[in-house]
């Protein structure tokens, strides 16, 4: 205010000067205005920024209780989202570790094929498979018939067969997959079981089963052997491709007193143990690894079934990046429509046990609970902000009367809401990290239960154990469950933190937008008439 004696109207100032100001408004331009004294006043862009902050801080201080309620609501919602996301990320990591345990560290995708009808794996006597029968009983000479060729007398049966759930895939499919755009490498493997049983007139010894993995020596870095560590001896060399040499899992070696140089029998062939390997605790490794070509030569589709020469039953794929997994999955499905393409995420649906329950808990209940709390928090924030704006109607009416544009008032309210949102978000991140830490601390060790092919299942029919004993694919071949212990740890990633900040901003802006809508409805004359 200019002091006495300064009669501004002598300058002839009129409303025209006001109306000829810059269209953007005096507070948004960098032009000059003329004061009533005629002296130019430089307008500073954003000159009210410090005032904005001061006003915002004081207003938040005045409404501390309400701001706290809004902030805590948002914090709770955001904290829950972080905790659930971290738990879900932990489940995903656990699922990935299961996949790696099953198929090796470098494997992103596995391709298997369900057995075709008539492949010899769906039932005895089916096309492609063999028929296999043992007849006899105590005191009788056993009669063993394989594909209707029978022999009588005591004998040992030793078959290296593919597992019941895995149908054969041509090795040429491995090359086709390897040539896909986003595929880094592909390797074939044969998951087999060596079944031994000795029958005689005196007894029928229980069958023994040894899980055997045919390893693609051209790609040892893919498949179950990739995650193994050599404990003794040596690993496969390129010259071993057609040799009867084997790597043995160290636990199996200990249990069977095997060491480097020992011999084991697989499909009636002697194999020299060239090394022992150890796998991660969580994995359920095969007992024996042999070269793929040898496995193909000795393996059959069920006892007496077709040879596996030129076939694999699992293809291990590494993608160029994890982002390409779903693309490659689609490409493989297009290439091999009837194949089963398993990724870490698709494996989730096949995993039972406590890991499956945890995945369901995090995926279903957690997500819905988070959404519910977030929606409630956003609604409370919006309603409280609208209520606060209604209570401040006269204040905003006054500001409009002294020349504040609605946009500036809206900006003030948005700023306040955003600040509450961000403070709530910061607390929410704290709550979320604490929640994840609590999960880490109290989460039990999980078990992934997966149906796996276990090879022959022994079944003896007839009362008193007499009667025919049948080994066969399908009905008598079966699957077993595989339990893999998994450590579940909630993982708070930068992405999750980013999501929290985004939610805080959205929550703040949403509340501010509702308040702003209320302001836009305010008529200054009506607002000034309001009684506080």
């Amino acid at each position: 205010m200019r002091q006495p004696g300064c009669n501004r109207h002598a300058t002839g100032r009129s409303v025209d000067q006001t109306q000829s100001a810059a269209p953007g408004g005096p507070d948004e331009s960098n032009s000059h205005m003329t004061t009533t004294t005629g002296a130019p006043v430089t307008r500073a862009v954003g000159g009210g920024r410090s005032f904005f902050l001061k006003y915002m801080v004081r207003e938040l201080g005045r409404r501390a209780r309400q701001a706290t309620v809004i902030g805590l609501g948002l914090a709770l919602g955001i904290g829950l989202v972080i905790t659930v996301s971290a738990a879900a990320a932990g489940v995903k990591n656990a699922q990935a570790s299961v996949l790696h345990a099953l198929y090796g560290v470098g494997t992103d995708i596995t391709v298997t094929h369900p057995p075709k009808r008539g492949s010899g794996l769906l039932g005895p006597g089916a096309k492609g498979g063999g028929t296999f029968q043992i007849q006899g009983g105590p005191g009788q000479n056993p009669k063993v018939c394989v594909n209707n060729k029978c022999s009588t007398g005591a004998q040992t049966l030793d078959n290296l067969i593919t597992t019941a759930n895995n149908g054969p895939l041509s090795y040429s499919d491995v090359d086709k997959i390897a040539k896909l755009a986003h595929v880094k490498a592909a390797a074939g493997g044969l998951v087999l079981t060596d079944n031994k049983v000795t029958v005689s007139s005196a007894s029928l010894t229980p069958p023994t089963q040894v899980s055997v993995q045919g390893v693609d020596l051209a790609h040892e870095n893919l498949g179950p052997l990739s995650s193994a560590a050599l404990k003794s001896g040596r690993t496969f060399g390129t010259t071993d491709a057609s040799s009867h040499v084997a790597l043995v899992d160290s636990d199996y070696a200990t249990a069977n007193r095997l060491q480097v140089g020992s011999h084991i029998t697989i499909a009636k062939k002697a194999f020299t143990v060239i090394g022992t390997v150890t796998q991660a605790e969580a994995s359920n490794p095969p007992n024996v690894y042999i070269p793929l070509a040898v496995a193909q030569a000795l393996g059959t589709q069920g006892p007496g079934g077709q040879s596996l020469k030129g076939y694999v039953n699992t293809i291990y794929v590494t993608t160029a990046s994890t982002a390409d997994i779903s693309t490659v999955q689609k490409e493989i499905k297009a290439l091999l429509p009837s194949a089963t393409v398993t990724t870490p995420s698709s494996l989730a649906s096949e995993i039972n046990g406590s890991l499956g329950s945890a995945a369901k808990l995090a995926g279903d209940l957690g997500t819905w609970l988070s959404i519910l709390v977030l929606v409630a928090a956003f609604a409370v924030a919006g309603l409280l902000t609208m209520s606060a704006v209604a209570r401040r109607a006269r204040e905003f009416g006054t500001l409009k009367a002294i020349g504040w544009r609605s946009r500036r008032i809206v900006g003030q309210v948005m700023g306040e809401s955003l600040a509450i949102g961000l403070i709530g978000g910061a607390f929410g991140i704290g709550l979320g990290v604490a929640g994840a830490a609590i999960i880490d601390a109290i989460a039990p060790n999980l078990t992934a239960t997966i149906i796996t092919d276990a090879g022959l299942r022994f079944a003896q029919g007839g009362p008193g154990g007499a009667g025919p004993v049948a080994f066969g694919p399908g009905g008598t071949l079966g699957s077993t469950t595989q339990n893999i212990p998994v450590h579940w740890s909630a993982t708070v990633t930068l992405g999750v933190i980013g999501l929290a900040v985004l939610l805080a901003v959205v929550g703040g802006l949403l509340a501010g937008a509702l308040g702003s809508w209320r302001i836009s409805q305010l008529n200054p004359a009506d607002a000034l008439a309001r009684v506080d």
Binding site: M1, R2, Q3, P4, G5, C6, N7, R8, H9, A10, R13, S14, V15, D16, Q17, T18, Q19, A21, G25, P26, D27, E28, S29, M33, T35, T36, T37, V41, T42, R43, A44, V45, G47, G48, S50, F51, K54, Y55, R58, E59, G61, R62, R394, E395, G397, T398, L399, K400, A401, I402, G403, W404, R405, S406, R408, N523, P524, A525, L528, A529
Partner: protein
């Protein structure tokens, strides 16, 4: 100069149309001090809001320096209020979270004036209403009279052409009322303001250069305040 031509403002209350201002024609020259008297509910405040561009007439024209306020866009009216019109309210209408200085400074924010200039002009305005020593006080720490002084400083810090005061002494005791009206009179003389003051108190109205009386929305202007009873 204000020129009001056949101004009517009707309100819809339920199924009834209530005329707040009826066919008012009036001229308020630059530098004039017009007191508008009348009983509660007879249209004084509505007329003041029409003059300030806070409300629009249902019929007729409100012109300030030849510009029809009824035809101006909201942004133009806001700018007009920011630069040329100061308001003083009966209930002071200070922002309770801001100090006296901040409340005064708030009126300079729409003008985009830099911080240093704002602080300087705010200090001058508070000094002119005798509140230099209360600059950092919150409204709740000030008396009614002091709050109204802050409101007057806020209205005048931007050096407006027009001051519109709605019952500025309505919430004050007798002594303070005299202080405030004397302050307004002094500032009106010093600054050459066009001042329109709504009051229901004759003793206040008689200080004005002219008095207009509103009765059921209609206005009658008496040139000589001393002729009031």
């Amino acid at each position: 100069m204000y020129t009001l031509t056949n101004v009517t403002r009707l309100y819809q209350k339920g199924r009834h149309t209530v005329p707040a201002v009826r066919d008012v024609s009036l001229e308020i020259p630059d530098g004039d001090w017009l007191a508008i008297q009348g009983r509660t509910g007879h249209g004084k405040t509505t007329l003041l809001q029409l003059l300030g561009g806070l409300d629009h007439p249902t019929a007729g024209k409100v012109e300030l320096d030849g510009k029809n306020l009824g035809r101006m866009r909201e942004a133009q009216l806001t700018k007009l209020r920011a630069v040329s019109i100061g308001f003083v309210f009966q209930t002071f209408n200070l922002v309770q979270t801001l100090t006296a200085a901040d409340n005064v400074e708030a009126a300079l924010i729409p003008l985009g004036i830099g911080w240093a200039e704002r602080r300087h002009r705010t200090a001058e305005a508070l000094d002119s209403v005798g509140l230099s020593d209360r600059a950092r006080h919150l409204p709740s720490e000030l008396s009614g009279g002091q709050q109204q002084r802050v409101a007057i400083a806020r209205a005048l810090v931007k050096e407006p052409k027009v001051l519109l005061a709605d019952e500025p002494t309505g919430n004050l005791d007798e002594d303070t009322r005299e202080d405030i009206i004397s302050l307004l009179e002094k500032l009106w003389r010093q600054l050459g303001l066009t001042m329109v003051l709504v009051t229901h108190e004759t003793v206040i109205a008689r200080r004005a250069r002219r008095i207009a009386v509103m009765n059921k929305g209609r206005i009658a202007v008496r040139q000589d305040p001393s002729s009031q009873a």
